[in-house]
Symmetry: D2
């Protein structure tokens, strides 16, 4: 079969013809239909420091996908051949203290498809059956291919209380974008998006932001404070500046959920920004297994969130270089590769 | 009557003979029995930058006290003359958006006795009746005099879930000390205290810490991690080092509550310490009105927490200089002034 | 001024010319624009047992209204003359143990306008300023007049977690009707309404129910169970049959919120319906002060819920008999009296 | 090996010599040291209606035990031969919708050891490794043998907020008894126990009840209401009378957790006892996997709860008839069989 792989410890990726994966007991074989490119995949492509430390090529890349179940090896009855499925990318151990607390998203022994084991940029993927989530027909394939990162957005929003609240999303890359309709669907009365890119802010408006602010030209703290402040900030940029702006615009007793990953240490005014204001901050890792998946599928299948709006580009697998270039350009929402 | 006041915008405090306070409608006049010295009072004594910006002398200082109700001016029936009472130090507006959310502890128009209006280091104090909390006879007067800062400790612990958890208190000044028996009383299975001072760590042991760590001689992160990590960290030191150690020792999915106020900006590794570990952080301001007071009084009156153990020194009001020197020495728990 | 009153302890209501109300300190005088008829008002009209035990005529009836502030007597600055306002109908004491727990909705000394003191079916009403909620211009007057009962619906839904859930509303009288768009606005993926009346079920569809079930012709337990069961049931009927059906259709671990008030004791199979299924049940009284009001206004002013759809009839005050007859017919949503 | 079994569909149990159990993949073989008799075992002994409908003899009975791991068949590394363990009695499917919500305690396909498959009144038991909980040496064997029912008590208490609260336990059979020290350990300021049996109330006092009430001689509603009412009621009796008394004594906004299983339908005054008081009720099934086990072991191993006090009788396995007679007499706490 054809697979897009990190073949050696150098920059770039390449297509290889390899054998179909072996399917262990309790695992399923899934025919991949569409798979989307994550920022992590870009790091792997670029072979940055994190990737060099973490990966051991050769590995098939890709961890966001939708596919059709081909077979199950002594399964548990969750899926059957022919089912359309998306999948959780983290294979958890069920044994560590975190798993025993049902905090699977921070399992101490987690393995990630497309990073630690072969992933989804391939005609077939082998994956534990428990990781599969069967999709109802009302979920478009494009939506199915981005359910994994959508789960990050859902997890972020579900960790705070947005009901009737003014919510500010700082940074509207793909996951920030997806957080906007989630916040609206769960009851936010107003969603404001901030970014440096007019392209992304235009996308934010299309997916439902009530107001967008380009922080190059306007001070978001002044603007939001004039409205009464942010009840909730969803920090999606990884920017130290945005983090501080978010803390400054929060009302006392406000909540911040942080998914953005700064590349280095950040400085904050803990006393004035957090302690004396009685702020709560939630670091968001992965997705809740399986509560986030349940909510994510419910939001999409009920039509409350239309994920096709965040898929701005689709390419054939053979044109993967274009896909990666598009992702790196910053001029995109989610970029999907059509595997079949 | 006699009152200990910041008479002018200079260092130090002095005793003055002044008129008894006027008691507005809905307020009570309370004969002060004991009052304790807070770190804030030390800042006022020293006339540091915060104090210079906030206060307008002359003002009677002191906001932690126990007293006996002398009279109530058209009251609401919460207290009667002769009742022994402690009091919330913040007078809230009931009108702002935070008060309307029952987040009185972050009221936008709060006024603090002993800072913004005349306080408790005096023979009498006038205070809104709603701020008074009647104490049952089972609460010793020493305990009553420190219920306000004890409320800070209770608020910190009640903001996280300590049931069956390993809890680390970083910094055992008076409030950190008081948090130890609270955590134990609410179900923590193990409480570890860290500090730079052996004197304070000895006090920590006396009030129930299962283990104490002087961070000058031992690395608390190594030690706590070897035990499996901290489920909960209560940051009470205001130290950037302790903050980072606390984040490092937390288990994934762990919780931190922060009461300590760093004097300047702090630097953290947000990605690795907070986001990817799925940590929650709660800034703690004041006390929940009135849930914290209810819990605080219940803990003390039921005998679950004996606050006399944290009162290490008592002085007559005329000897207030000794009281402040003791507080500044770092060799004390709570220091109480006997007003009568 | 003109006022619709229970003038004596007999059936019916009548219009009287009376003096404008006296306005105590801290209270406001509000010119009533529209007021809606509650089931409680019908009980008062009919002079049923509850009314006979509770009320002491003469009393001006009515507790759901929208109006314009005429004056405030030594106010707290929440409203100013000319402001359009709705109001909480319960005047709470702020002194009892429940108020001190911020559980104002179950204040032990609550007084209700239109029941315990003069109410809103009059040209003017006197009411504590703290009870007033200023409405933004985006809230239509019809919506403003039914915000109080809408708050019951909001309180019911906000007491459970409907995010991505299948929600069944058993009984779609006016408050059940209003709960439907609230559940949708806060993230329910599917809302099913049950009732005995096709008229009401048609209204339920108009306000957003995904499915309606007339329990005369279809067994709701069978139907909902076939879909996988109800995650949440909102019991709005006061019917013992509906209560039992709701418990039967709940999934294990499911939640029920109950606003409906059965007229007599009810029988349930506690072991099988509640304990062994791990069900949670929440009794809903009044509205959370003031969190429910904040959320209610946010839902309406943001356009997430259009309350005009539940106002099916409007009458002039002088035609109040028609209004009460319409309410008693069961063929109505909310019935509004135009006072001016 | 020797096993106490329901050999046929008739009253009573008998000792049999049978083969050691076969150990499937992922399961462990455990040498049983002590096992305790549950009310369910009594039902099985008596062969009541529930037992007749549920069980298919022959089955080895018993589901509460402590033992030593003999071997593990292709395990996951949670336990090793020689480890002292207790065990969750429910074997869950991990596949149903409830398991996927981490609500394992209400798994739709659960199987119970000693009921659906061979249990613990035997020299050896085979059980999935994931069901085993390794005990630290600080847990006495008697305590280990009753950790399963103790988990019911812990689950009940952890489902409500007892911090600083007045808690009433209605019914102090073995699980009610165990709930008393749990409530105290998690911060209850006062625990009141009610029952019909002076023997049990004496035990309640020994394990920490602040007050005991024999409802034959005193009206518990009057008594508790005079103290200000119950903040929390833990219903452990299964009695309709106790249920109603518990609801009547609750303060507005109070919480009830129900573990007791009435044998038939019960009648309550839903309007006045639940809805208008804003009460929350939680049905309690089994134990949270694995949060309850973590908390249960923490409470016992830290010395906060001494379970030896609730074990009133121990018998050799051959004297099982005496054990069952003691359980049926009502004059016992937990009754333990020494298997080895």
């Amino acid at each position: 079969m054809l697979a897009l792989r990190k073949g050696a410890a150098v920059e770039g990726l390449a297509l290889y013809e390899i054998d179909e994966p072996v399917v262990p007991e309790g695992w399923a074989l899934v025919e991949v239909l569409k798979a989307s490119i994550c920022g992590t995949d870009v790091h792997i492509y670029e072979w940055n420091e994190w990737a060099r430390n973490r990966m051991r090529p050769p590995v098939t890349v890709g961890h966001e996908f939708v596919g059709r179940v081909a077979s199950v090896n002594r399964g548990i009855g969750r899926v059957a051949p022919g089912d359309i499925v998306s999948a959780e990318s983290h294979i958890v151990c069920h044994v560590c203290d975190m798993c025993r607390r049902n905090l699977y998203h921070v399992c101490r022994n987690t393995r990630i498809i497309g990073v630690d084991i072969d992933g989804a940029f391939a005609e077939y993927i082998a994956i534990p059956e428990e990781n599969l989530v069967k999709l109802p027909p009302s979920v478009p394939l494009e939506a199915g291919s981005v359910l994994e990162p959508f789960g990050n957005a859902v997890h972020t929003v579900q960790s705070v209380d947005v009901r009737g609240k003014r919510v500010v999303v700082t940074g509207v890359g793909p996951i920030g974008l997806m957080a906007i309709p989630v916040a609206k669907a769960l009851g936010a009365s107003e969603v404001i998006a901030t970014d440096l890119s007019d392209y992304r802010l235009a996308l934010a408006e299309q997916v439902g932001a009530d107001l967008t602010v380009n922080v190059r030209s306007e001070d978001p703290v002044t603007l939001v404070s004039a409205k009464g402040g942010a009840d909730v900030v969803l920090e999606m940029s990884g920017s130290e500046v945005a983090l501080n702006q978010g803390l400054d615009m929060l009302v006392p007793g406000g909540q911040m959920a942080i998914l953005g990953l700064p590349g280095k240490r950040v400085s904050i005014d803990l006393s004035n920004q957090v302690v004396m204001k009685g702020i709560s901050i939630h670091g968001i890792a992965g997705r809740r297994l399986w509560e986030t998946w349940e909510l994510a599928v419910a939001l999409v299948s009920s039509g409350k969130v239309d994920l096709r709006r965040v898929v701005t580009h689709q390419f054939e697998m053979k044109d993967f270089e274009k896909g990666f270039q598009t992702m790196m350009s910053g001029q995109s929402g989610k970029v999907v590769l059509n595997i079949r």
